[in-house]
Amino acid sequence: MSEITGYERKNGKFGIRNHVLVLPTVSCVNGVINHISREVPAAVCAPHPHGCGRGGPRDTQILFRVLAGMIHHPNVGAVVLIGLGCERSNTKSLRPFIEQAAKPIEIFNVQEEGGSLPTARKGAAAARRMLAEISGQPRVPLSWDKLMVAMECGGSDAMSGVTANVALGAVSDWLVEKGAAVIFGENTEMIGTAHVLARRAKNEEIANKIEQMIQQAEQRTQDIMGHLASWVISPGNMDGGMSTIAEKSMGCIFKGGSTTINQVVDYGEWPTEKGLILQDGPGYDADSMAGLAASGSQIMFFSSGRGTPAGFPAVPVIKVASNSRIYEAMKGDMDVNAGSLIEGKSLAELRGEMLEQMVFVINGEKTKAERNGMDVFTFMTVKPPF
C-alpha cells in the first residue's frame, strides 16, 4: 500500500484536503454564500437551511456542534464565516468555538457590513486572500491512525447488503487493522439488529448503549410515523427489493465490517477511541453525512443501489454502486462498481481496488462527487421551527 499524505493542523489533527470553507451561520445569508461561490469557485461554499428558529436545548446543541465541527474540520485550512447578526448561532455565540479552532478565520456580519452585496464582496476578497495564504502548505506523510473514515449508505436496494455494504465492511476491517477509526451511523437502519451489534461491543456498557440507541430509534420512528411506521423505508428501497426496516438494516450494518465496536458517540460528537465507532444519528443521508463529518471524518465511502449523486462540503465522498446497472446508468457519479461481485469478481480483488482508489483520493485525487460539485449540507433537527 502506497504512502498517504495530508495537511498537519495546529491541534494535532490531519486533513486530506486544504480547503477554504465559506460557511453561513444561518440560512438567511445563503444568498451571500452563493454570491461568493460564483466569485471564488475554488472556495468550498456550504449554504445550509438552519441557524435560527429552533431554540430547544437539543436543537441548539446540535446547531453549535455541527457549525463548530465544520469550522474545526481537519480538511478545512481557513474559514470565511458569514453571519447575519440576530440569529441563534450568531458569530458572538460561536466565538468560543472559533477561538479553539487555531486556524485563520475571518468573520463578516451582513447587518454590520452594509448589507448583502458589500458582505459578499468582502467575503469573496477574504476567501481569495485565504486561498493564496494556505496554498503553500505542504502535504506531509500521514499515518493511518490519524484517519477517520465514515461509512454511509443511501438510496439502498436489496443488493446493497450483498455487494456494496459488504465491500465497505471489508474496507472497514482493513482500516481498523491499520489503526484508523471507522465511523458509521444511521440508527434508523439499525432497527432489528440490536442483538447482532450489541454482541460485538467492547464491553457491557457499550452493548447497553447500542441497545438503548436502537430502542430509541424504534420508539422515535413509531412516534413520528404512527401507523405508517412500516413505511419508514423509502418507496425506492421497496422497489429495489427490500420489504421491511429489519431487512434493510441487516444489509446496512455490513458497512461497518466485523470488528469490535469500541465507542458509541452522539450526533456530531468527536470520538476519543480508534477502531469501529457507532454514531447515534439519523438514517436520512444528508443529515447523517453532516453528523459523520462534524465528528471529524476526513473521507467517506457511500454505497447506493438506487443511485444518489450526493457529496459533502470539504469531505471527499467515494460513491460505491451496489449493482452494475446503476453503475452504468450513473457512471459520472459512481466511483466504484461493487456489482462486479455478482459477475464473479472476488471480494479481495474489489477491496484491493477500493483501497487503491482510497489512497489516491486521500492524496488529492478528486472523487466524482467532488468533481461534479454535488455537495449537500443540512443537518439533524429534533423539533419543528417556530
Binding site: D157, M159, H227, S243, A246
Partner: protein
Amino acid sequence: MKENALLIHPRDNVAVALRPLKAGEQVMGKGLELFSVLEEIPASHKIALRDIPGGEEIIKYGETVAVSTRPIKKGEWVHTHNLESKRWKK
C-alpha cells in the same frame, strides 16, 4: 448456465434474484436446489425457497426480517404483498 439467484445464509427461506426472472424460469445458485419460479421476480427481490405458511418468519441474512401474512408457495415472489414487518403491523 450462469447463476441467477443468491442464497445469502444457509438458514434463509428466501433467495435473492440476481436479475429479473420470468415465470417458469429455473433458479440456479450456490447452495440452491433446482426449482422454477412461479411468477415474474424483479431483480434483487426475494423468492420463496420452500412453502411458507401464513404467520411464519421470513429469514434472510440468517435473521428474521419479516413475517408472512398468507401462505407463500415455493417459487413465489416474496414482498410487501405477502409479508409484513414484525415490529410495526401495517
